[in-house]
């Protein structure tokens, strides 16, 4: 095994081009487990810890440019307003020790359907900026996950940062597990209201071969909210709409039975989380409406 320690992003890209089999390591919370258990003996480890820009973020007009190695603890502390869904998801990642090391780049690189960040990224909408010596490109999150633990990255590419839409409305995140810390999701659900475009986006974790959106549920809800004038009136979403949304979300899941839970439990739980998180986000959207009206008065 060789340990490559590039001092700059350019050096890292050159190293990855020269050794496409090199395994990038940043927080190490996935890679080191595999090495410790002898499940993996990469020829090259490509340490990204010396590249400071990967741990930086930038809040722009429309997007947050989140460096691949920004630890979950920093997201929780600093980006709660701009990325509320991801901040909530970050808080459910393992433990403080793991959150101090792990970041979104690792979740995306591993592309496990159980990665905690995925449902929040799907719901918020984002693009993954990847780069190689050949150039850089932005991969829409909807096209990023290509299979179980597979993503759209080419062998010579590295994940630089994620361009995540700043929240323009309430976001929520829910995760089912056996305890409140140190737990891999049985399944998870993320939701983001986008009042500017009058759309709702969702993300489902651990209930399909890849992280997915509940597209049928989104389409149904977007149409129902539009038709009923809910975005303007901010009235309570009728239970029948919420129920239908939950059923469609549940239906878009394609889970398996495994040690953490059965497929039917996961399908059921996705529906419950969809209904609850919709209720929570809609309640705060209604609250925002009330306070802005009061503000005017």
């Amino acid at each position: 095994m060789d340990f490559l320690r590039p001092a700059s992003w350019e050096e890292a890209l050159a190293a990855k081009a020269e050794h496409p089999t090199a395994v990038p390591i940043a927080g190490g919370t996935d890679v080191m487990v595999e090495i410790n258990f002898d499940h993996r003996r990469p020829e090259y480890l490509l340490d990204l810890n010396r590249i400071g820009e990967l741990s930086e973020w930038e809040v722009g007009e429309e997007n947050v440019l989140l460096g691949a190695s920004v630890p979950y603890s920093a997201i929780m502390e600093n980006l709660r307003t701009e990325l509320p869904g991801l901040a909530l998801a970050s808080h459910t990642v393992a433990s403080p020790q793991i959150r101090n090391r792990g970041g979104v780049g690792g979740n995306l690189g591993t592309a496990s359907p159980a990665g905690d960040a995925h449902p929040a990224l799907l719901a918020a909408d984002c693009e993954v900026e990847v780069e190689s010596v050949r150039g850089s490109r932005l991969i829409p999150i909807d096209a990023f996950y290509t299979g179980v633990k597979r993503n759209a990255l080419a062998a010579d590419e590295l994940i630089k940062r994620v361009h995540i839409k700043k929240a323009d409305g309430p976001q929520q995140y829910s995760k089912v597990g056996t305890r409140n810390a140190m737990v891999i999701a049985v399944c998870a659900f993320g939701i983001a209201l986008h009042p500017e475009t009058r759309t709702v986006r969702t993300g489902i974790g651990s209930a399909a071969p890849t992280p997915i959106r509940a597209k049928a549920a989104e389409e149904f809800l977007n149409a129902a909210l539009e038709e009923g004038g809910f975005w303007e009136s901010r009235k309570i979403i009728t239970p029948s709409i919420a129920k239908q949304f939950a059923e469609l979300a549940s239906g878009s899941a394609n889970p398996i039975d495994d040690v953490r839970g059965t497929a039917s439990y996961r399908r059921h739980a996705v529906g419950i989380m969809a209904r609850r998180t919709l209720g929570w986000t809609w309640e705060s959207y209604r609250g925002e409406g009330r306070s802005s009206i009061e503000g005017v008065a």
Binding site: M1, D2, F3, R5, I25, G27, G28, T29, V31, M32, V33, I35, N36, F37, R41, L45, D47, N49, S73, A94, S95, P96, Q97, I98, N100, R101, N180, A181, M182
Partner: protein, 197 residues
């Protein structure tokens, strides 16, 4: 490969480190610092918790080469670290900014009546004393990781709520105590800390 870093205020160098080796292995097997415990090797149990540039991390998940040039505090250095913090940064931590122990202090360092094997007669940090006084140690295997995590909590948050304590220690498993005495110990250390400030 060769790896250089500072452990408990002293510059250390490890040779012939295998590229896939963890920081935990280097600390225990190459530096003779077996305080950090090796249990799950997957970041689940927290018994290998150390401070890496000020942050609590699972040393089993840090590749040794990634620690090159960094500042590490293990449970063995916790008393010195806490003393330095009280002397130089009252009410806060130095983290990676000053590296825990100054060169001057490191040069003057000597084992003060400490039995190298058992640590008997050595100085304890306030959190260590509180763990003893509250009866928070049974088999003791989880204790070093809990001490490092709890000490960092009290550095950041002088009067933590019970929820804060549970959150800060949520990555450390204990199979003996049922956690109640551990929570007691952290509350005790926090209360004593408030008395002295």
């Amino acid at each position: 490969m060769r790896v250089n870093f500072t452990v408990n205020g002293r510059q250390q160098e490890a040779d012939d480190v295998w590229e896939g080796e963890s920081l935990l292995y280097v600390l225990r097997e190459r530096m003779g610092l077996p305080g950090s415990k090796n249990a799950c090797e997957q970041g689940e149990c927290g018994s290998c918790t150390v401070r890496l540039n000020g942050l609590p991390v699972c040393s089993c998940l840090v590749a040794a080469g990634q620690a090159e040039g960094s500042e590490i505090v293990t449970v063995e250095g916790l008393a010195d670290y806490a003393k330095h913090r009280d002397d130089s940064h009252p009410g806060g931590g130095c983290g990676s900014v000053c590296g825990g122990t100054s060169l001057q202090e490191a040069r003057q360092w000597q084992a003060k009546g400490t039995d190298g094997q058992t640590g008997e007669g050595g100085q304890l940090s306030p959190i260590q004393q509180a763990f003893i006084d509250a009866g928070a140690v049974q088999c003791g295997f989880c204790t070093p990781g809990l001490l490092v995590a709890a000490d960092e909590l009290l550095e950041r948050n002088a009067s933590p709520s019970d929820a804060d304590i549970r959150e800060a220690l949520s990555g450390n498993l204990c199979r003996c105590t049922g956690y109640e005495t551990i929570l007691d110990a952290v509350r005790l250390a926090a209360a004593r800390q408030e008395e002295t400030v």
